[in-house]
């Protein structure tokens, strides 16, 4: 067991490093090759009122006059040493800008994840426990949650709690109630994906022979659930949570705009409006870094959590959507 795990871990680690480097290359290519040119669009825009010397100074400071390959090499080596360069818009270090915006986004994202998990487990366990009609009605919830954009949920919460009930004022986006509302708006669509996997797993486990045996021996549904079904069906959620990291970040971009929070989302918006590429590139690279590291951690931990998983030969790819996470045997039965 130990030896194949080390091989698996090594392969997975190498893959993660490769993906991080390639992601950096990819964003560099996207921002340098695509037709939009920040120098002509922003710096030379007469509305911004830069003088010719200032423009030349910014171009020299950013190294935009050097060949692309050299630009790539310097930006990559600087990035690896933690230097993200200067913002084109404000000439402040990108690292500082991100460090200022990060705490607010981290608070929102972790609160959103907590909401998503709580809601997903409540819905999934409800489908198993609640009688007939209500239980099957709950099955429609993930699909519904997935269809409502988080900015609509956010606006509805502001309308009901902010305007009608007066629980928080819109001009205080960092108050507890406002943060909770933002977390709910962010968490609801994400809970749908977790709940889908959880429901599929619970259904699958409940149909297994061992569950039938336990039932025939007179185990109450609650005991069967608590002692036998809960653990095997909840474990795979670890990997699903890791996959929602990207959406937590992507979703918080919009949620921050709805609630007027100052975080990575508003930083991205301001930088996008000004085509401030160094900032955008750093945010994308960091987001990809976080995503890859979280998923690497999930991949490395999961075989240790679930001893049923045997790592023989090539490591299996983890399920990455609710549909894939549904065991294939289940899909053919349900189909």
């Amino acid at each position: 067991m130990r030896h194949p795990y080390l091989i698996y871990a090594g392969k997975r680690l190498a893959q993660a490093v490769a993906v991080i480097l390639l992601t950096y290359l990819f964003t560099f290519v996207v921002v340098s090759i695509l037709p939009g040119d920040p120098v002509t669009n922003v710096l030379r825009d007469p509305q911004n009122g830069f003088s010719e010397e200032q423009i030349q100074a910014i171009i020299a400071a950013q190294g935009l006059d050097r060949p692309l390959l050299i630009q790539l090499w310097t930006s990559l080596t600087h990035f690896l040493s933690g230097d993200f360069g200067l913002s084109m818009r404000s000439s402040r270090p990108v690292a500082t800008l991100i460090a200022e915006a990060l705490p607010s986004t981290l608070t929102l994202a972790s609160a959103g994840l907590a909401v998503a998990l709580g809601l997903a487990f409540a819905v999934a366990y409800g489908t198993q426990f609640l009688p007939g009609r209500i239980g099957s009605a709950l099955r429609a919830f993930p699909s519904l949650f997935l269809s409502v954009p988080n900015f609509v949920i956010g606006l509805a919460l502001i309308h009901v709690f902010g305007f009608q009930l007066g629980l928080f004022r819109v001009i205080e986006p960092d108050s507890a109630w406002a943060t909770l509302s933002a977390a709910i708006a962010l968490g609801i669509p994400i809970s749908a994906q977790i709940a889908e996997v959880l429901i599929a797993n619970l259904d699958h486990e409940a149909r297994q022979d061992y569950a039938a045996v336990a039932r025939s021996r007179g185990l109450s549904p609650a005991r069967l659930f608590g002692k036998h079904l809960l653990k095997p069906s909840s474990l795979p959620v670890v990997t699903v949570i890791a996959l929602t990291v990207g959406e937590l970040l992507g979703g918080s971009l919009v949620t921050e705009a709805v609630f007027g929070r100052n975080g990575i989302g508003s930083l991205v918006q301001r930088s996008a409006a000004a085509q401030d590429l160094p900032v955008l590139q750093a945010v994308v690279a960091l987001a990809a870094l976080v995503f890859v590291l979280v998923n690497l951690a999930a991949d490395l931990v999961y075989p240790l959590l679930d001893p049923r998983l045997k790592l023989v030969g090539n490591p299996e790819r983890r399920p990455e959507t609710a549909d894939e996470a549904t065991p294939s045997s289940l899909r053919t039965v349900a189909g």
Binding site: F26, V30, P35, S143, S147, G246, L280, F291, G335
Partner: protein, 281 residues
């Protein structure tokens, strides 16, 4: 259930529609989609109001018989604006999914069919696309391309490439191992013949279900980009833009709830149909 296919055969004579045995929620979803498609093809048939011309005296009226969804801050009929904005929202979602299906499908097809080094290289490319949060990726691309609705559609499409590539690759690999594909090779079929005649048709069902699902998701992503102001500016009336305009008038909540309701109904219908397509294999 697998019994359905047994029941369907003798019933075929009784008419194809009853043989399909559409669940009621699927019929409702198809009806909603039919309305949405009709709105985008011929908006003028469904409303007499001009979406761009407002009557200042009639601003911010609540929903009524004359104005189904009320009027906005310039006295324009909101229902008319939604109906006339449908074409833009639907077309952008279709453009996005078209890009996803073509580029993602090609990547998945090559990776799954050729295997080896090509597969490894393309798999890393897909990993990269998956590692960047989808919405952030779309924002970066639309920033590089410039802000308008078609570009938000292109950006959304590129951000969907990875998902299509993954599903297509999995389907191709599954089909490649089938006995009939082996038989086709043994009968002397060329690679491209087998690909075109056997592998693609077998993969198309899953990809179709995914495409329908992705039309719904793309509507949401494009609405999100329009909400943040990366699409066409007003007087365009994309659903996401209408919601964004409504957010400044939350005291008149129908300005948010009406376009939101239409968006959610459309996406929910697409999700339901996608599920149904997957189940009726």
């Amino acid at each position: 259930m697998s019994t359905t296919s047994l029941l369907v055969v003798p019933r075929l004579a009784a008419g194809r529609l009853s043989a399909l045995r559409l669940p009621p929620t699927v019929i409702l979803s198809l009806a909603i989609l039919a309305v949405v498609i009709a709105w985008s093809l011929a908006p003028g048939l469904f409303t007499a109001y001009d979406p761009a011309r407002g009557i200042p005296a009639h601003k911010l009226l609540g929903p009524s018989a004359a104005h189904w969804f009320g009027t906005d801050h310039l006295g324009r009929d909101l229902y008319a604006r939604i109906v006339h904005g449908t074409a833009s929202s639907v077309t952008s979602a279709l453009i996005a999914v078209g890009i996803g299906v073509l580029a993602g499908g090609l990547i998945g097809l090559l990776a799954g069919f050729l295997g080896g080094l090509v597969d490894t290289l393309l798999a890393r490319l897909v990993d990269v696309l998956l590692a960047i949060p989808r919405f952030l990726l779309a924002i970066i691309i639309v920033t590089a391309l410039g802000f308008d609705t078609v570009n938000t559609a292109i950006a959304t499409g590129i951000s969907a490439v990875a998902v299509f590539a993954r599903v297509m690759r999995a389907e191709v690999i599954k089909t490649r191992q089938a006995t009939f594909v082996e038989a086709a090779f043994l009968q002397g079929g060329s690679r491209w013949h087998v690909l075109w005649r056997h592998v693609l048709p077998n993969a198309s069902r899953s990809v179709l279900a995914l495409a329908v699902l992705q039309v719904g998701l793309s509507i949401l992503v494009i609405a999100g980009l329009a909400f943040l102001g990366y699409g066409d500016p007003p007087p365009a009336s994309d659903w996401g833009l209408l919601i964004a305009t409504g957010k400044d008038y939350l005291k008149w909540p129908w300005l948010v709830y009406a376009p939101a309701l239409v968006t959610v109904a459309a996406v929910l219908s697409l999700n339901r149909i996608s599920r149904w397509l997957r189940r009726t294999d």
